[in-house]
Point group: C2
Chain length 145, copies 2
């Protein structure tokens, strides 16, 4: 990252998933597409680009590359706990898109796997015990307590 | 986006904020840095790149370019309601980074502006009235009810 000491967790995060292909690949894997050829067909992404992004996500610990067949050897990609933990980020980004680009019905959503209900995402303040709308959010430097 | 009809709101979203510079610029503006020179100094980003990204965020309706001085003419950048509505996405991405890249204390967080408390982000299922951990999330195609 460019030269000063204002590093933060969002920079670390974006170093891993900070391009649209990486997020689209993760969305597809959340959707249940685990194999190179499936993801490639879904996204229409060039094979070398997909291979590069999958390798990057594996080395970042977000995906596991798992052998599912011996002859010929075939692998598929599974979310690690670290990758599954990106669900809130994906939900937030998808809901924002739904609110501001809802020209037609959003074809992909994240749901509760046991009941199929589309998930809610709530921003709240633990001190005020209240939901916090976007206009009441500001950024701050972390101060150690 | 590459050629098939699996468009979704995350693609629309990523078309606007799907690169790390755009998100870092937004984080800085949430933090209260509104002027070109401030953001440029904070991020150490090349001027032509910053100019390009700010123009993109303005034309996407995420930022407003507002004149704050007449002689010489100077502008600053303010979040629109659409931009402020990205707070949940920024919180989610920053919290994920905190959990998985917490080598040291995260220097920037999003807080409740009235009390300064770091915000919580909760994924919940409205049908089950329960918090939903990452392992219980799956992606689904939207089915009209």
């Amino acid at each position: 990252m460019a030269g000063n000491d204002h590093s933060c967790s969002i920079e670390a995060t974006l170093a891993v998933i900070g391009d649209r292909w990486s997020l689209l690949i993760l969305r597809d894997i959340f959707r249940g597409h685990h194999r190179f050829s499936e993801i490639q067909a879904e996204l229409g992404i060039a094979k070398n680009l997909l291979s590069d992004r999958l390798g990057h996500l594996v080395s970042a610990g977000v995906l596991d590359r798992v052998q599912y067949q011996e002859r010929p050897v075939r692998h598929e990609y599974r979310l690690t706990p670290k990758g599954a933990d990106l669900s809130a980020s994906l939900i937030a980004l998808m809901k924002w898109g739904d609110r501001w680009y809802a020209d037609d019905t959003p074809p992909t959503i994240l749901v509760h796997n046991s009941c199929g209900t589309p998930l809610d995402l709530n921003v709240s303040c633990p001190t005020c015990s209240a939901a916090v709308p976007p206009g009441q959010v500001r950024s701050a430097s972390y101060v150690e307590s």
